[in-house]
Structure formats: C-alpha cells, structure tokens
Subunit: 586 residues, 2 copies
C-alpha cells in the first residue's frame, strides 16, 4: 500500500522516479484520496482529475523556487501529498493536520490560504511582478479550473496578464468541463470549441487578450503532461496551457456524476452512499420548496445563483423544471447581483441564492447597483452561522458586520420556519426595498410569525418581563429562550425576550421603553461583534442609563474550530452569561 507515495517526502523524490513508478505514484495518490475522502470528506472530483498533471508539475518544475498557485485550492490535495503532507491522507489520525486548502502555515510549497475561486491568476501575477522587480528567474504557475474562469477577478487578471506582464507566467487552465454545477456562460462554450478543434478554433479568447496559448487533450497522461510543461518551462512571457482532464477520474460514480462528486462527505466506496444523513426538513429544503411553488405561481419570479444552486436545494431536475425562471450565471457574483437589480427595476422578482461567504464578492454591486437604486432584490444566504462552515476561507460570521451598514439594505434574521417563509414571501413580493435574508443554521423550529415586515426595524417582543432584556438575533433566538428560562430559575424573575428580526437597525421606541423597568440589556448574535447588531444597541444606550452586554464572536479569522468549544472560550454559554449577570447588581 502506497509503495511509492510512502517514500515521497518532497518534490525532489518525485523527480527520481521512472515512468512506471510515476504511474504507481498516481495510483497511490488516488488510494490516499479515497482513504481521506471516504472517512473525512472533502473535495473529490477536482482532486481525482488533477493527479497526473500535479505529478508532472512537480517533476518538471522546482517547487518552491518555482511557485504554484492553486485556484480555490479544491484541486490541491495531490500537491499536498507530494510536498511533505502525505500523512494527512494516508494516516487517519493525521487528517486534521491538513486544512484541505493550500496553506502557507503548513508548507513553504503553498503561497496563499485560498478558498474562494478565481484568484490564482491575480495572485500569480503578483508573485511574477515581485520576481521581476527583484531580478529573479523562477517560473510562476497558476492552475485554474474552467469553472473559476467565469469570475471577474480571473477575467481581469487574464486581461492584465495578456498585455501588461511581459515576463514568465504559466496559466494552466484545467478544463474538466464542469464548474461546481454544470458550466455556464460564453467561456464554457468557448473552451468546448477549443477542445473540439484541439486548440485551433478560429477565435481564441486567450489570444485575443494577447496571451500565448497551447492545448493538450491528454491531461491525464503523466508523460504527455511532462512534455508539455517542459516545453513551457522558463518561457519569457505569459502563456495559457489549456489541458483537458477528467473530473473524478478513477471513480466511476464520480466520472458519471460530476456535480454530485465535486465535494463529498464520508461515504461508502462500494456504493457511493454518504454516511451522513440529512434531516428531511431543513431551512435549505424549505427554501427549495418555496422556490418551486412560487415559480409555478408567479411568472415574474426568477432565481439567480452564482453557481451555487444546491445551497437552496435546487437539484438538476428542479433546475430543469424552473426553466427560464432559473439562471446560473457561473461563478460571477457581481454579475448575479447587478443583473438581479436590472430584473427588479423592470418589475421582475429576483431571488439571488448563494453562501454567505461568497456574497462578499459583490459588496459594491449590492451597495451601488442595488441599494443606491433601492431595487427590490432578495438575497438569500446559506451558511451564515458560526457552526456552519468552519474553514477560515468560508466563514459566514462576517455577514452582518459587512452588510448591515449599507444604507437601504434590509437584513432579516428569521428565528423559525414560519418566520423564515413569511419573510421570504414578503420580501419577494414587495417592491420597495433590497432585502438580505440570513438562512438559520440550526434545526428547523416552529413558532407563529408575522406576515408583514414593511415597518422596518421593528423588533418583536416575544416575552414581556423585567430587569433584564435579552435581544436574541436570528439563529441565536433559541439561545435567548434558554437564557430567559435560566434567568427565571436562577434569579426568580422573568426577563424580557425580544426577537429583533431585523439585523440592519434598531427599534428605538422599544429600546426606549425598556428603560422603564430594565437595568440590563443583553444582545446575542451569531456573528462578529464589531460592526454588528449588538454594537448598534450599545451605541443607542451609550448616553443613557442602561447597562448593555453584547455577546458575539470576536473580529478574528477563526479556522477549523470546534463551535461548542469556541462558544465556551468566548464566554458565550448560557452558564457563563448567567455568571456575568450575577456580577451585575440586578
């Protein structure tokens, strides 16, 4: 087992292998991928497809003097195995040592911590520019997938590299004919034409931007790839090396269902069945059902996603059913949001769905194209919670801080199934405000909720009490309920419990009323404190007689943490908050 791989401790070890051994190494890498992915999960298809090219890259180039930048780093596992980190794949007890993304803290062979797409060419041009300033001669290589190419940052960088950087830069376009979901947009079709013509198509996007270009169809053949890379090594100008690879290569199920196997949770290798079961009802499934019903009833309704349909449960068959009412713009968040603004302006009812971490990519479009124009776009965000995605590049905890300070944007934080669906429906049907809805991260709960949210920033008084008022936002409402119970049992009085519902502003009337018979206001939020909800409440009371204690996360790039342990560290458990209250003179 791992006969060759077990002896690979650095790229130098790869260079000593003969052709036969390199083939065995490829098989070893796939076995190691299976070992980690069946037990631990992670990115599947992109890594299985890039094994041979990665071996060839390390065979030909001299990392880390020559510098590799892996776009989004979904396809960096084979590289990690060849650069001293095989244990994260072949030894189960070491899985957690490996971040699953390129990470300079792990290795000098990684230059950036990357988890968002479309960044590699820009980052690589920077490495190349610094090399040129310093008179260096090393190769700089960016590896980018066809899906990532649709992102504005990648397109800007291609445009730049084509004419402004006049020195060595090797852009490997890893064309596995698939984004996360199916590919979309002009580039996707253009790459198909380039494959069909073996790179000789009359029009060539890359050449039109001033880049050199070569095509290689056998991207999964090590010796071919070695020859290709030897040809471009030490080139004195930017070149695109377009290679054709098979996503998921080496696992039949993944080769056949490229979308389903882009990424996986632990699974059974024989059957392909995931070992984790999801509840039948979730906030994702509720979004999915709402979308399908609404679309059937209202022809003005349209769902737009920047390549993240599954974040709203939109499987291929449902997308098919939605027809013209479904738009996947590719990985192009800026265009998704600006286009939604245009749709809203012309009387359509656009719903943009994606993950919270990716909506950051369209901050300016939300501010300028949508909010200055006050167009009624609804943006539904998944994975906003601190206990959702815990990789540093995918945190949702900055969402409220980032967006709640943009004028005109209404941010709704639902606390139950009914509230969530009512907010969605209110938002999609109204025509006065841009709205962002924070999808709850916890289990679905049920509670009666209002249908109309047009009186902005009106908080909901859920339990009327005294002395202490708890403002428990969105996802943390259930923690607020628990805290209220505990205060009652510990202190013998019933506190007030408030469901703010709006994360974008404060209910000044309600906060003023609280001053009559409350001494302490507690805010709970599932996000960072800086720039967030609690600080708005604290600022309101800053020159008034009211103590305020704000509970939330620190402004920090947390990485792969245990959510419950983090709460404890931050002093945010119910028991810790109770202890804090005891110190006050209530």
């Amino acid at each position: 087992m791992y006969d060759i791989l077990k002896n690979i401790n650095s790229p130098a070890d790869v260079k000593n292998l003969n052709a036969e051994q390199l083939k065995i190494l490829a098989a070893d890498i796939r076995e190691a991928l299976f070992n980690r992915l069946t037990k631990f999960g992670g990115h599947f298809g992109p890594n299985f497809g890039i094994v041979e090219a990665t071996i060839a890259m390390h065979y030909v180039f001299n990392s880390p003097q020559d510098k590799f930048v892996f776009d989004v780093s979904h396809q960096s596992y084979p590289h990690k195995m060849l650069t001293g980190r095989k244990n994260g794949y072949i030894k189960d007890e070491c899985f957690k040592e490996d971040s699953g993304y390129t990470n300079p803290e792990e290795s000098e062979h990684d230059f950036f911590n990357v988890g968002h797409t479309s960044t590699s060419i820009s980052l690589a041009t920077g490495l190349a520019k610094a090399r040129d300033l310093k008179g260096g001669k090393e190769n700089v290589i960016a590896l980018i997938g066809d899906g990532s190419l649709t992102g504005g940052e990648a397109l800007e960088a291609l445009d730049f590299a084509g004419s402004e950087l006049k020195s060595n830069l090797i852009i490997i376009v890893n064309d596995n004919q698939q984004s996360i979901a199916e590919g979309h947009c002009g580039i996707y079709h253009h790459l198909a034409e380039l494959r069909r013509t073996k790179g000789t198509a009359g029009n060539n996007l890359f050449k039109s931007l001033g880049l050199d270009y070569i095509y290689e169809e056998n991207g999964n053949d090590i010796q071919t790839m070695i020859k290709v890379f030897e040809k471009v090594k030490n080139i004195n100008r930017p070149i695109v090396v377009h290679i054709n690879t098979q996503k998921g290569k080496g696992y039949k199920l993944a080769e056949e269902n490229r979308e389903g196997w882009h990424w996986c949770l632990p699974f059974d290798r024989e059957t392909g069945q995931w070992k984790v079961k999801f509840p039948a009802e979730s906030y994702t499934s509720l979004a999915r059902d709402y979308i399908m019903n609404k679309a059937a009833q209202d022809k003005d309704f349209v769902v737009i996603t920047p390549a993240m349909p599954m974040t709203a449960g939109l499987t291929p068959d449902l997308r098919q059913k939605l027809g013209a009412q479904y738009v996947d713009v590719g990985i192009a968040e800026e265009h998704a949001v600006a286009m939604a603004s245009g749709i809203a302006k012309a009387g359509g009812k656009p719903l943009v769905v994606t993950n919270a971490t990716f909506i950051q990519r369209t901050y300016d479009q939300i501010s300028q194209d949508v909010c200055i124009n006050n167009n009624p776009v609804t943006i539904l965000l998944n994975y906003t919670s601190f206990d959702g995605l815990t990789d540093v590049t995918h945190l949702g905890i900055f969402t409220i801080a980032a967006f709640s300070n943009i004028p005109n944007l209404v941010i709704l934080a639902p606390t139950s199934k009914e509230e969530y669906l009512n907010m969605l429906d209110w938002s999609v049907n109204q025509n006065k405000h841009p709205v962002m809805i924070i999808m709850p991260g916890n289990m679905v709960t049920s509670r009666e909720a209002d249908k109309d949210y047009s009186r902005l920033n009106t908080f909901k008084l859920e339990q009327n009490g005294e002395k202490v008022a708890i403002l428990a936002l969105g996802d943390f409402y259930q923690r607020g309920e628990e805290l209220a119970e505990k205060i009652k049992s510990e202190f013998g009085f019933a506190p007030t419990l408030i469901n703010p519902r709006f994360a974008c502003g404060i209910d000044e009337q309600l906060l003023t009323d609280l001053q009559k018979n409350h001494q302490l206001v507690i805010t709970l939020e599932d996000g960072i404190l800086d720039g967030g909800f609690g600080q708005k409440v604290a600022a309101f009371y800053a020159d008034k007689d009211m103590r305020v204690k704000t509970y939330g996360l620190r402004k920090e790039f947390y990485d792969r943490y245990n959510p419950q342990e983090l709460l404890q560290q931050l002093g945010m458990t119910t028991a810790q908050i109770i202890a804090d209250i005891k110190k006050e003179n209530i």
Copy 2:
C-alpha cells in the same frame, strides 16, 4: 443659440428632424456642454465624443420603451438633454437640477443611478431578462466605454450575455481609445487590432464569448450611426456594436489631451485654464512626492492603481519615470488588490492607490486574498471625507464602516502631514500587516508624530485633561481641537484630547484609564456611525460607568449636499456639541 435643442422636449422631437437639423442639434449639444462645463465642471471628453451616437440612438430607438443603460454615466449628458433635461445645460440657474449621472428620479428615460464603471451590461441583461419573462419585445441597449470593459463585472456580464441570454441585447462599445488615464490591458490592445482591421481581426474576443459583433469606424457621424442602429434594432440575440469615436470631439485641447479632459472643473474656453487653483501642498501632492522618492530609493517598492493615478498626483511624466515600479491594471480593482497580495507575499512593497468609493469593489479580495493571508499590502485611499465627493455614487463616508470590521486589516487615520508621511513610510516598510490609510480630506496641517505604528490600536493622548475626553479620528482631529478649546472656555476645565490614529480597533488600556477622572467620552468621526469607530468605543463602555456620545454621519445615501449644512443638520457643529454637553451633568 440652441436653435434646434431649445425645441427638443423629448426623444420624439428628435425623430422629426432632417439630416441637416440633426447636425445642428449636435452643434447645439456641444454648445450646451460648453455652457455647463465651463461654468460648473463635470465629465468632458466622454460627453463630447458621444454626441452623434446619442442623437442616433434616440432617432432610431424609442426610449423609454426601448431602454438605454449608460455605463458609469460619464457620457450621459447628451442623452439627458434629449430627454427633457436640456435646462440643466443651457440655463445656468438650472445646473444643480441635473445630477451629472443617470438618475431615475430625474427622468423615466434613466433606469439606474450609476457612477461606478462596468455595470451597464449586467444591469441591461437584467432588464432584458425581465422583459423576456414578461413577454415584452422592446430593445435593451447598454452603452459602455472601452475603459469600463476592463472591470470584472463587465467581463462577467459579457461572458453571460454571450451564451445565456438568447434574446435582444445591444451592447454598444464606445471605443474612444482612452480609459480615464491611458488604456491598459489586453482588451485595450485587442480593440486597437479590431479598429485597425475594421472589425475583421482573426481573433475576436466578443465572438469567442458567443456574441454577435459588428464594427463601425465613423462613430461621430450621425447618419452612419442611424444606419448601424437601424440594422441592429429588434435583433433577437445579443450583439456587440463596436463604434470608434473621438473623445473630447469638438474641443481641440480635449482631443489632444484626452486624459486631462476626461473631467474638468470650471474653465476658460479660450485657454483651457481651470478657474480653480489647488494649493501647492496637499495630501495628494505629499503622496506623490513620497511615492517618487521611495521608488527611487527602493527597487522593491511598486505603486499599483486601478486606473486612478491622479488620485495620488501621478501625472503621465511621473508614471513614465516610475517605469516598472508603476502598474495601472485598468479599471480592475479586484485584480489590483489581489496582485498586490502576491507582490507582498514575494517580498515586494506594494502600494495600491485609488478613491475610497472604488475600493468597495474589492471587498472580498481585501478580506480573502490579502487579510486572511496577512500580506503587507498598503492601500492608500483618497476622497474618504464627507466633504470630498458629494455625489451619492462617490461617497467616501462608508469606508471605515465597510473595512474596519475585517480582521487583520490595520486602518490608519492620520491627522497631520508628519503623521501621514510617517504612517505611509511605516506601512510600506513593515511586513506584518495589511494596512489601509485614509488620506485626510482637509488642508495640510503640521504636528509632530510618531514613526512607529507597530503597536496596533494604541491611541495617542494629545492633551491630558479631565471630565470629558474627546476621541477625534483622522480628518476630524482639528474639530476635536476646536471642541477642546471651546469646552475649556465654556466650562472652565480642560478636557482630554485623544488622537485615535487607528480606525480598526480600540485602545482598551487607555479607555480603561479614562474611567478614573472622566464622565463623558465624545467620539468624532468623518464617516457613518453604524459599524464605524465610535460604536466600538460605545460598545466597550456599554457595561461600564461612562457616558459616550458618538458624532458621525447617519447610515444614509446622501446626494449632492452642502457639507457644512449637513453637519448642522446632524447636530455635529462645535456649538451643537457644546449644547449637548451642557445637558449632561458634568
């Protein structure tokens, strides 16, 4: 004077004119442009160049049923004159009625309030998509300049339109061979090749993305443009109409100096001399001198700008002198920042310069590419102040709220020439932190300052006093000085005056120390309160015995306001703050 224009009250009036009258109309429009621009200033070159095409657009299409979207709207003045808003150009007393940008509040012929580039194609695809959902048949036309094409949002939208939108969309590429400064990047050279070959070049970027394409070199001939637009009117698929126009046409000085006349302040028509004089020394000129000196001394230092060199005073001759140490990436903020991260990672010293409002376009790159990786990129921002640019699309007042909540990002707010230069130099030379520097908007003042800012979030106690502590951030430090004086004279005690210097966090030790002999903390900041600096201070004291009063702007899209009147309205003048203090029991 204005013989034809004076009778144009809507586009219908244009359609009744004969060829000769249309020519006179073009001359009238140019006279009207001169009238406004010589007296009021505004965008010059783009408007002078687009006169004929705009007349032809309104002659052929039926606005507002057919919908025009003007990219960045620097070239929308002729359109405004033809759609009932000529008075804003021919009547001096009406100048202020016209926003200088497309604005739906002014006219049904405008669909979006736009001032950032590269948005028109996305917005237009949205109008087109809504039309298709509703079964409409109207034309949707986006007019975009060659400079705007380098922005990621525009590239994403081109990519989308090329294959996903299968219905009417007319993208007019107004190629005047100039961005704001000179054009850069592959597209710029590609457009030159297309012009050279009259649109027949072997490689065609637009066609490679799946778009139809036609070229017309006589973009300043009305009858030619009418024929071109008649040909594409009611087309059933997206098409790019590439037209060659002359920026600044009709004013020799502007034709010859396209960069200098992109935009103007009031000027003398005979000489071209601007009527407003700038002080010899400004924070911009200080940046310019710093850059030139540093570049000469340090070969690792490189300035990067997304097409905004003049915001740091970098005139063409200075750019020339900087050589490889100057990079204009085109209007491509995302790439600029990500590339800077790569340069910093490889040991270069990158300084990114642009306007505050445009840095929003690269929020995600600052967070992911730069800050997660903690690469020492310095970003210097101009026009951050509420009394800088007052158009709603160009406000700098959101900068601190937007960026101060991103972990690892150090935000410095200098208060004097010495502090500004020391901060710049410290930031460029250190290698531990990404840094954003807020260029002061007021007159240059002088005061001794520290050289080292490596102890993050340490505030500077400038005047030690009692009872009241004033934290006056950046640009508002001088207001803090004035307030301190006034408190002394009104109340008979000397307050404490603090220069926070850091807008990204608080000095907990200093704030704790203040509790000993202060009852009131006042924060002053040149930006919105929500998510900003004062709220961080208020939150710190929320559960402690200290009153806090935060002064700053409201979370609102202000538009074309008088800065001094706004301060008064917001209760932020020194006299008003003094009155507030009197209400407290000090």
